[in-house]
């Protein structure tokens, strides 16, 4: 079916990137960012800087109305100053919320140059640093999308069910701040973003188009951060799962830290609260980040990717694809020490 904006592309630099990590991804999806850097450097031969002095973008606080815009733009200015200091011009945040914060700050500076000068002054007053605005800013999923065809011949696996020979059915979920704030910053724009769908289609899978495809994952900052509001959060997530359930997805692919976390973890909570799981056999629907998926298809060790840290376990998915893995190494720690095995939930099977 023809989609008007499907072909919409944005400018993505070819090389020499300054990477900015997410605040929460290294906790919940511990291998994703390291995998991204490995793919860029080892598979694609790109130059990407991972500066140890980086810090939060304030996104969570900013969207929770506890950090004012002036503070946010000064913090953003400091991150840009790190990029400038390292000699880079292409900025690549790992987090969709950060990507939204940067594009918003840059848009405000473009519309009101006095604000940019104010940020320069604040930054100088605070730490005597200077910055340049990036020439190119893209989300890290944009880079994997851009190089998806280049990566394809290097992949050991495809998104095909080896038992049936049919494409895997994949739900893709895009973080709200990727394109809903500034549609022209998203591949495919806001209605039918193509950044993850493009990866899925290129690598042999089939994208599921379900009614609540664009709905929020349930993170929504204040919905979750204020404990009394968490009912809103899980209600949103539940709505999405109810909507995708009839299509029997094999897994969910996301490009946002919060989305991956909430769509993964809330499956356990819903199972405990309502005795409900969203696959027919009670195992839940695995949720992957795009780095994890790319790494899996490239043949990386799933435990190095951090899949054992997921709430919904991925072994059944790996078996469907035919990915070789060693169950005995799942909880192997650094130095070969076997870590304690986590308790298994009663309702959500593992």
């Amino acid at each position: 079916m023809k989609r008007f904006w499907n072909e919409y592309q944005k400018e993505i630099a070819d090389d020499h990137f300054f990477y900015e990590r997410s605040c929460i991804r290294q906790t919940f999806f511990a291998g994703s960012e390291a995998t991204f850097l490995r793919i860029l450097r080892e598979e694609l031969g790109k130059d990407i800087c991972d500066n140890p002095h980086q810090h939060t973008c304030t996104g969570i606080g900013y969207h929770s109305d506890v950090v004012p815009f002036e503070t946010t733009m000064t913090v953003v200015a400091r991150l840009f100053s790190l990029m400038t200091e390292c000699g880079y011009k292409n900025y690549v945040p790992s987090c969709v919320t950060s990507f939204g914060v940067f594009t918003e700050v840059m848009a405000k500076w473009a519309e009101n140059p006095a604000l940019k000068e104010q940020a320069r002054q604040y930054l100088w007053d605070a730490c005597q640093r200077e910055f340049e605005v990036p020439e190119n800013i893209v989300h890290s999923s944009d880079l994997i999308y851009k190089f998806r065809e280049e990566l394809k011949p290097r992949m050991r696996y495809q998104l095909v069910n080896r038992f049936t020979g049919r494409p895997l059915k994949v739900v893709e979920h895009i973080g709200c701040h990727y394109a809903k704030i500034f549609p022209h910053h998203g591949i495919g724009k806001a209605e039918f973003p193509y950044v993850l769908a493009g990866m899925i289609e290129s690598w042999g899978g089939e994208v599921i188009d379900y009614p609540e495809r664009r709905h929020c994952c349930g993170f929504g900052f204040r919905q979750y951060l204020v404990q009394e509001n968490r009912g809103y959060s899980i209600a949103n997530t539940k709505k999405k799962f109810e909507s995708m359930e009839p299509y029997e997805p094999d897994f969910i692919l996301t490009n946002c830290p919060g989305c991956a976390m909430f769509m993964d973890k809330w499956q356990y909570t819903i199972a405990e609260m309502e005795h409900k799981t969203y696959d027919q056999r009670g195992y839940g629907i695995p949720v992957l980040t795009y780095e994890e998926l790319t790494g899996l298809l490239l043949g990386y060790d799933p435990w190095q990717l951090g899949l054992q840290l997921h709430q919904v376990q991925c072994e059944r998915l790996m078996e469907k694809i035919g990915i070789a893995y060693k169950p005995e190494e799942k909880y192997l720690g650094v130095g070969g020490k076997l870590l304690p095995t986590p308790l298994k939930p009663e309702i959500l099977k593992q």
Partner: protein
Amino acid sequence: MKKVAIIGAGPAGIEAASLLAAQGVDAVLYEKEQQPLHNLTDKAFLFPNFADAQEVAEKILAKLNTPGLTLKADTEVTQLQPQAASNGWLVNGEAFDAVLLTSGYTTFDAHRKEELGYGIYPGIHTSLEMEKMLREGKVVNTIGEMPRRIAFLQCVGSRDEKVGNHYCSKLCCVTAVKQAIEVKKLMPQCEVYVFYMDLRMWGQHFEELYRQAQTDYGIKFIRGRISEAGGTFDRKVQIKAEDTLMGRPLKLTVDLFVLMVGMEASRGTRNLGALAGIAGEYGFAQSVDPHIADNLTAQNGLFVAGSCKRPMTLTDSLTDARSAAFEVLKQLLEN
């Protein structure tokens, strides 16, 4: 004998050409399609009195038989050039004393509102497609059964900053009311919803029709825009909206979702308006003055009538065409 080219054989073109021919003018009527009046012959019934569109069309088409009127169908005008020496115009290589532009409108391409799912999900139709179903007396859902719930959405491609059309298309409000009533006449048990920004019942009997839709047919009018539509697993359409009177978000699953597409300048209007130097806002043709010289243009000997200027009803187009014919005759006599 004076010779006038009329470009576009819609209601305005046929009406003006027949009047000019009846007054002894050699009226040559150009039409790029094979059949004239196609924007009317594809309708079922006309608002506000549910007149049979085919009967009305036949009456208008009969005027093509006026002696002195020559129809050149399947002929696109590609040359429209003033001739300083003769004070006339050259149309496709033929000399004329005057030209009347009646190249009309086209409907908004609903694919451009991607969030509304047209062309992406089954069960989503334009108002033109609904009109066709009504004309055939058969309105069915995606699996060929009688629909149980239908939603109409107003202002698709009009009053919409996002697509660049700020203007009101004028006809869609009453057309939705008319189509909703026709649906209820055909299938009284079907639930019908109309989503609107504000209903503009400006014409004679329009307001009565709107009231009748609510009191006699139980059609539900909801003030609010639909933000997105998506296909469901059972081939229905899920729509999300905000009921702005209730101040609440709303989600509804319907069998059919009908987009009331607005009017835009036709390709011919855009091209010829630009060619002749009379292109106005949104690609429509520009008259000299909307109050006192609405059929005259900045170009001597070039006249405009009907919906090539702005969205117009059939009635308004016909009236405007008569006015234009009079202006053309006046200039021919003066020359």
